[in-house]
């Protein structure tokens, strides 16, 4: 149990450091490469979509659960779109989710 979380911390630390160090170690020469620019633009939105699904998958195991997740997701997205206040969106979204239980 304890070795597992230390493993996660080690791997997370290395993976994060890799993203910060890569440009200084190897990628410096390729600053202008079109594939790198393309990934820089489109990888983040794609990853965020995957993470939303990953984080909600365990909550949406049946039909009522799925409806609850979809409604809460919609409220967070709309709040964030119109008010641009992350704490507000997260707080009210969680409240909506809890109230729908």
């Amino acid at each position: 149990m304890d070795s597992y979380i230390w493993g996660v911390i080690l791997v997370s630390a290395l993976a994060t450091f890799a993203t910060r160090a890569l440009p200084f170690l190897v990628l410096g020469r390729y600053t202008q490469h079109p594939l790198l620019k393309f990934l820089g633009r489109y990888l983040p939105p794609v990853m965020m979509v995957l993470l939303v699904i990953y984080a909600t998958a365990s909550l949406a195991v049946d039909l009522p659960g799925l409806a609850q997740v979809l409604l809460a997701t919609l409220s967070v997205a709309l709040l964030q779109w119109y008010f641009k206040n992350p704490l507000l969106s997260i707080f009210i979204g969680s409240l909506v989710y809890a109230l729908l239980l």
């Binding site: 791997v11 993976a15 994060t16 600053t31 995957l50 997701t73 989710y97």
Partner: protein, 226 residues
């Protein structure tokens, strides 16, 4: 010192509450002591990655999936680094510490510094160190406070998804890649359906394949709003 504190004050106002939220979530969602949250703040030092790791640890995700997810979640740092390459003149451990701790906030403060003086090079790593101190403080405080309270877990279950939905909306606001994001949603749903246990790793591999195909064919880019 005074200048350092006033420069980094906005970061403190962001990091301390967000760090506390992480700390509270960490000790209430996971069966670990408070100091593991501190260890994460010290060694990982990445907001969204630390929040994601709570979900990963709760699901007992395998370490390969952890590595892939954290790397790609933080991949935006690669592009910060690229733009700092020519400006970073620090050498030795200060250089490597700055690279290790190059968060969104440190990056934006550093790139906003005036260009001229040699002293600015020292400002760069000092700013970074102070920023990390705020984060470590926030995470630790949150974890200590979270130990004492019992919070209904139902509401907390949606905090992590909500954080990613917020980041998703902000990505959409900038990139406007609706087609690509819908395709990613399809891939994610398919991966949940078929490879439930390995969903994250499988969907990351499929999504990268999708991106490479899109890059080659140039499709969907027309919807990017460029």
């Amino acid at each position: 010192m005074r200048q350092l504190l006033s420069t980094t004050l906005p970061v403190a106002l962001g990091y301390v509450p967000l760090g506390m939220a992480f700390g509270v979530l960490f000790v209430t969602q996971l069966p670990y002591e408070w100091y593991m949250a501190t260890a994460m703040a010290l060694f990982v030092f990445a907001g969204s990655a630390q929040f994601l790791s709570i979900g990963l640890i709760a699901n007992q995700a395998n370490l390969l999936a952890v590595a892939a997810a954290i790397f790609l979640l933080n991949a935006r740092h690669i592009f910060y680094g690229l733009s700092l390459l020519s400006e970073l003149r620090l050498r030795g451990w200060r250089r490597w510490y700055l690279i290790f701790a190059l968060t969104d906030e440190s990056y934006s403060l550093i790139t906003a510094l005036p260009h001229d003086k040699r002293a600015d090079q020292n400002m760069q790593w000092k700013i970074t160190l102070i920023n990390q101190s705020y984060w470590v403080l926030g995470c630790t405080l949150g974890a200590l406070l979270g130990q004492g309270v019992t919070i209904p877990t139902e509401g907390l279950a949606f905090v992590l998804p909500a954080l990613f939905i917020v980041l998703c909306v902000e990505q959409y606001r900038v990139v406007r890649a609706a087609g690509l994001m819908l395709a990613a949603a399809g891939i994610g749903a398919l991966a949940v359906w078929i490879w439930a246990g390995q969903m994250l790793l499988v969907s990351i591999v499929l999504a990268i394949a999708l991106l490479l195909v899109t890059y080659r064919s140039g499709r969907w880019i027309a919807t990017s709003g460029e």
